[in-house]
Amino acid sequence: MAMATGTATGTMETEDTVSNDWQRNISVYRLGLSNYKDTHRLQTRLQDQRRNGGGDDTLLITEHKPVFTLGRGNPEPDLRVGRSVVANQGIEIIPTERGGNITYHGPGQLVAYTIVDLKAWECSVTDFVSGLEETVIHVLADWGIRGDRKDQARGVWVEDRKVASVGLYVRRWVTMHGIALNVDPDMSHFDLINPCGLKDVEMTSLSREASKGVAMAEVVESFVDHFATVFDAEATYQQVPGKAAART
């Protein structure tokens, strides 16, 4: 069973006063390669529990089988090719309740889903999104890459290339969905869509920017550590129930 503890030193500046008398805790589950719909059901169940006063604040770390997901406000896929091309590649298009536009998930991409009670964390929605971006920026720095935010487009960028996309759904101030960092996915799949509705955007990956192979397990560890630091939270790895493959 995996048990590790993240740091509890906060660096994130929130608008609201942060008391030192309480502790943010987050349970971390590494799901490995997962089916999008299965993980979505899990997110929904965890969010329901949390907004009804139960459950834990949770970070789900996964990679998905290839899938395109759509945001609520853009229910029609913004494709660069015909639907048949996408279908022939066996990539499903799934509408979701998160904000934003179309994005791609696939093996080699770290997806971090956050089920967090923002009221309990005394964190605004925009601070939370900024914290997710900040986390990825720190991860990139671990590989010597400078990531930045852009004023007009959320996510994390390396110069003009987008490396991480963010999207959130909030109900009763409990979040779900989160951020996706391209570690070393099949980048050709991004060519099938206008990622995030951006026609001329160039997508990139950590591996491409580092010009070397990057181990997903190392990136996951880095992400969780930095998440804990940025949000001043204690992260505890949990075993995935019934999943023998859960790793320490």
Partner: protein, 353 residues
């Protein structure tokens, strides 16, 4: 005390969001915890829940951006009423709709001084003196032809009465209008359903030499919304929807764009395009609404093009409304834009005309 539905504070850098969808229709009964509406801000989607049991009343329609703290609706408990100021406002509107035609003859005479592209359309011409008496001018109301490179926004008032003619206050000498300070309001419109009714329109227009495009649906929705909002009497059959070629001065007024003669709108455009296929045509003026210009734009930022030879395929359009706040209050403009959006999201009502 009614429960107020407001735009919540999202945090630094997010002044508000789009009222993307009302889950609870106007008049619906909700329980605590029921989702009432969805707010969208960038990559964030937030469902707002009811905090108490009651009847939902909308103040702002879906599709309208709102600032943080703005009231967008109420949940009224048993025996509760809308807040007094809002109820009074509603009563005023109702009274106006019944018997106050003057309130519709909006004093927007002369507001068309700034075009959709920021160009100065000029002030009303100085009335010519004929026989010692000033010539009365008023905004033109009907289809007219371009006049020597300048749009003719004014016409002489004559003794000939036309159906629906009403005197315009202070029109003996048209005052030079103050330059309006236009405000801009934008709304994103999913065009999925609107695109689907193109085939229906094509059947309806099978005898017309017209190509049916999404943009025609937008014009139809605009006309429909105009007619819903504006009793036609003061303006006869003309509701003042104007079309402007973006690279030229030609203006075309179109009568009752939402009804049968709507085909005439497209026909007019087709004529323009026939003359010069490269010339885009943009809907820019909804004068009867007191809105100086409205410039629908497609998702890629291009001006809305009507009747162009090149089909424009888009899954979403961004409509931009530019209006004069001295003539139209924000709520009215927002309601109008929201109604256009509703008609495009669920466009089948447009086929019923």
């Amino acid at each position: 005390m009614p429960s107020t539905l407001t735009v919540p504070r999202l945090g630094k850098g997010s002044p508000g969001g789009l009222i993307a969808e009302w889950y609870a229709p106007e008049g619906a009964t909700v329980e605590p915890g029921d989702r009432v509406f969805r707010l969208e801000s960038g990559f964030i989607s937030i469902d707002i829940e009811a905090e108490s049991k009651g009847i939902v009343r909308h103040v702002v329609p879906a599709g309208i951006p709102q600032f943080e703290g703005e009231t967008v609706g109420y949940v009224l408990g048993q025996g509760e009423r809308m807040p007094a100021d809002l109820a009074a406002s509603e009563a005023d509107v109702a009274a106006g709709e019944e018997d106050d035609e003057d309130s519709i003859a909006v004093s927007f005479i002369g507001t068309a001084t700034v075009g959709a592209f920021g160009e100065d359309l000029g002030v009303p011409p100085v009335p010519k003196v004929a026989g010692g008496e000033p010539v009365q001018l008023r905004p033109r109301r009907h289809l007219f032809e371009p006049e020597e490179g300048k749009p003719r926004l004014w016409e002489q008032v004559t003794d000939e009465k036309e159906p629906g003619d009403e005197p315009i206050p202070n029109s003996a000498v048209v005052p030079a209008p103050a330059r309006p300070r236009p405000l801009v309001m934008r709304v994103a419109v999913p065009m999925t359903e609107a695109a689907r009714i193109r085939e229906q329109l094509a059947i309806e227009w099978k005898d017309e030499p017209l190509q049916v495009r999404d943009e025609a649906t937008i014009v139809r929705a605009v006309g429909h919304a105009l007619q819903e909002r504006i009793p036609l009497k003061p303006y006869g059959e003309s509701v003042g929807l104007s079309l402007l070629t973006t690279d030229g001065p030609e203006w075309y007024n179109v009568d009752r764009p939402g009804k049968g003669p709507f085909k005439g709108v497209v026909r007019s455009l087709s004529n323009v395009v026939d003359e010069d296929p490269a010339r885009p045509v943009t809907v820019v003026s909804y004068r009867a609404f007191g809105i100086d210009s409205a410039e629908p734009r497609l998702a890629d930022g291009a001006a809305m093009v009507l009747g162009m030879a090149q089909p424009v395929i888009t899954t979403a359009a961004t409509l931009t409304l530019v209006y004069d706040p001295e003539q139209v209050d924000d709520h009215l403009a927002a309601a109008f834009l929201g109604r256009v959006r509703e008609l495009l999201v669920q466009p089948y009502a447009l086929l019923a005309e």
